[in-house]
């Protein structure tokens, strides 16, 4: 599997990371080095082996479905780059 510049551009877009056009070839090269290393996994016989979902055999705990926290709007917004009138503010989303 080899990653071309078009694939690198697509992955950057999916990851929501801006990558300048002139940096794409180097990025594709790095992806190829890492994926080349990962390719070794193809040698392993995994027939009939379940993909691991939990490293410790445990049931995910459940809790009662009730409100345990809240009423801390100021704390929630305290670290926002732009908070106005009790909300997170972002650029216009809908035209």
């Amino acid at each position: 599997m080899s990653i071309d510049i078009e694939t690198a551009r697509r992955v950057a877009k999916l990851a929501r990371i801006r990558v300048e056009e002139q940096d794409l070839p180097a990025l594709a090269g790095e992806f190829n080095a890492i994926l080349g290393f990962i390719e070794q996994l193809g040698e392993v016989d995994v027939e009939g082996v379940e993909p691991m979902t939990s490293v410790t055999p445990m049931r995910l705990r459940r809790r009662v479905d009730e409100v345990t926290d809240g009423g801390c709007q100021a704390k929630v917004l305290a670290n926002a780059p732009d908070a106005r009138e009790g909300f997170f503010a972002v650029p216009k989303v809908v035209e």
Partner: protein, 497 residues
Amino acid sequence: MMSDLSSLTIAEARDGLRAGSFTATELTAACLARIEAADALGAFVHKTPEIALEQAAAADARIQGGAENPMCGVPIGIKDLFCTQGVPSQAASRILEGFRPEYESTVTTRLWQAGAVMLGKLNMDEFAMGSSTETSVYGNAVNPWRRKDDATPLTPGGSSGGSAAAVAADLCLAATGTDTGGSIRQPAALTGITGLKPTYGRCSRWGIVAFASSLDQAGPMTKTVRDAAIMLGVMAGFDPKDSTSADRAVPDFEAALTGDIRGKTIGIPREYRIDGTPAEIEKLWNDGAAMLRDAGAKIVDISLPHTKYALPAYYVIAPAEASSNLARYDGVRFGHRAKLAQGDGITEMYEKTRAEGFGAEVQRRIMIGTYVLSAGFYDAYYNRARRVRTLIKRDFDLAFEAGVDAILTPATPSAAFGLGEMADADPVQMYLNDVFTVTVNLAGLPGVSVPAGLDAQGLPLGLQLIGRPWEEADLLNIAHSLETAAAFTARPTDWWI
């Protein structure tokens, strides 16, 4: 006298505080003074002397009243990955610049409740992604150790490199670390200290900035195995806020350090003999096995056949989880937001914010993770890696079922390397640092690195012991025996002062 206090172990400090030989305030002041003189190490990136002195005064009052907790009055450093209320918690990333959590991680909460004293936050690789603390937005952390007659600055390892440097340089008595692929054990080995990664689920992950949630685990970085036992006892415990936290009793780990390992079976995995491992590390490994044999343990050769596939599996699973975990850094709720141009919409805000906020290695891993999870590749990469992970864990299960109590391996494939030395290498070369440690995270096991000797250049080398799940007590007892036999007493010179 005052400056010597910072070189105490936790156990020595506990005894001295209880005996009234010195106060927590004096001990804290000694550490703060030493930290002030150690900026060249780049270890402490946010200092909190006011909090430290306030906590020390409170600890002194508790000790006067007969405090029972062994960590009461003990000054420690906290890796920048832990959220600490009102104190910058940046994961060494630009994207969390200015972030001051409104809450405290469970592990640090437990430490403060025990009476421990926070000296400040410690340097690390950005989002714990790295093995040299060179991906930090704060700049490099520097190893207190240098090669003989050579002033080349060396890496303290990573990602918990600031924690390792701080403990090795006696800036604090101990520090917290986190370990996703070796990030406690590798830096501990490269700086001549003890580093323990507990069983997955032993310490709560709540309030620790997430990297790869199925692998991340917090643990102590200390001067001795005894201190690791004491500190783990405080850090560990069930937390309903972490859905994978184990609801099990926390044993008295220190009481388990009997020094008696007669009849224990120690496995030596043949797959860990890797081409290109320096002869010194091979010798150290053989010497370590001989020490445990002399202490009464039985040494057996074992096979962990899928070892070779651990690193490639890790470099699918960890980036995949990271790409999902780090999606939250979007410039909306916390941290950095890029300056936008006229007409930029929300997509441009995300893309510019993340391009500016994340460093090169973090961007690379997010994108690799995005790729292996994308339509058409999910089965070929992500599911295959998770199947291989099942096989890696099974290798360990079979060894333990056959009667092995612990497994002895080298901790790292080399001693500390020079800062910048790996700059031109491809990313995979850096990843190879974790070749001996990463299996333990994939299998969820406890592992500890113990300083065991010096190489020809005078740099520390560590050995790793891997234990059965939940048997940290037994593992620490074996590590304690190894520590006693290896009698590692070398110290770095204070060249930075």
